[in-house]
Amino acid sequence: MSRVLDIRDLYLRFRGYTGVTDVLHGISLHIDAGERVALVGESGSGKSVTARIVLGILQELRTARIEGSLEFEGQDLNKLTRRQWHALRGTAMSMIFQDPTSSLNPVFTIDTQFAEVLRRRDPDLSNADATSRAAELLESVSIHDHARVLKSYPFQLSGGMNQRVMISMALANRPSLLIADEPGTALDVTVQAQTLKLMHDLVEESRTAVFFISHNLGVVREFADRVYVIYRGRIVEQGPTAAIFENPGHAYTRALMAAVPRITGGGIPEINDVNPAFLDPLVRHDGDAI
């Protein structure tokens, strides 16, 4: 099983006028080929910055200080030049974002945006080839009226449609790693369900590894093979999805589980959202090799 992503002891600090802010306190996680791994946490936990570090875009902030080991398909990312890292984005690793309509460029039609994506891998692609490949990709996400969609602007399409377009663009160049930042959050619940199922099927087929960032435990449960729970820049629990959900070990994970409302009822329990036990050490479930 080849390791697609390997993060070890990652630290992130920001230098500001007022001093240094520590955001990540040495997190470690890994993703193997074909795995779907979720990073679950609330806002401020550091989950989104982690994704941006893997993509290399956080490093462009002058105030950011990063330490730790980052390996992608065996390559040490820290040793890459900006250019090399840029070459990976959109080809070997890609990302989809929370709000599909605002993540697509509003002034270009869908086919232009597809062409741009496809040319990252194949710069000499002709317009005709780009269009036919785009049509194939749209078909793979169950969009059948290709011609209309390709000629449309993002604001002319629904949120669900844009999300599917974005997914197909992200998978267009057959990346080894797909990073999904809260996918489906901005969508209606029925559309979100369809989108997640679609993502599931597509990555099954292409064996793309997925790094899934979310605060929604239900979505994580349905989609992820393994879960890392992050609290305030520290991984507090990790393990296979079933193990984490059936038997949460860490105080924070247990609080999260208890706080999620159930469709079977049961009321809203009283939860202490500031509990020193949340800083307890990592709980690791068996079956999660390092």
Binding site: E42, S43, G159, D188, V189, T190, V191, Q192, A193, L196, H215, N216, L217, G218, V219, R221, E222, F245, A255, L256, M257, A258, A259, V260, P261, R262, I263, T264, G265, G266, G267, I268, P269, E270, I271, D273
Partner: protein, 268 residues
Amino acid sequence: MTPILSLRNVSKTFGSGDTVVHAVRNVSFDVVPGECLAVVGESGSGKTTLANIILGVYGQSGGEIWFDGKLLPARRTLEHRSAIQLVQQNPLSSLNPKRSVGASVRLGLDVYGIGNKSDRWSLVEQALQEVGLPPEFRRRPPAALSGGERQRVAIARALACQSRLVVLDEPTSSLDVLVQARVLRLLNGLRRDRGLSYIFITHDLSVVRNVADRVAVFKDGRLVECAPTQAIFEAPQQSYTRQLIAAVPVVSEEELHLRRKLAEGTTR
């Protein structure tokens, strides 16, 4: 018991000629005093338009609204306005970034003339305390508060107006899970203690199950189904309702069970 709010055949159309949008079509329902009625629907269901009509942001194209047994005109008086208040989804946007949190809470007091001018700051502090915030917060700008704290300020603002019906438009959708639990408990508690009525608009059915007495399901501007919460979840009559519940991502086995049962179309 007279319903606190009654809608009869309410419709709202936007635009004219070719670009007519029927946002709300012939909607009728009641809100019982002290209850929490959940309004559930996806985008395009008309729930936001409905909320705006109830709040008097604009008038309806057809139909009537009754508050406490009296007809509500499209042009609201201050008395009407103070009785029906709003808590919005995004507290970062619903609080003026250039004004202190206390000033935002105080606005209603000034507009409705509640209390003496000199007492109003202490009324503001009281409202903040009732939502679990320290009174000193009144001087802070919204940016200095967390998302959950800001939302509690928005709730305090509605409370300070001494309203009887609160329209909550996705009040916890932009909050983290733990914070959401806290805010939902606060909302439930306030409703009980003060005899408030809520119209709780949300897309999150798992929240609905735990806060609402009755649920009104909307689709394309129409009221599809309206029933007590337990009935909606265990024996939904409409397939759309069943679809909605089946799409909810769940965390436990028993919920999966319920979803599977509904997806199969089995009803008790």
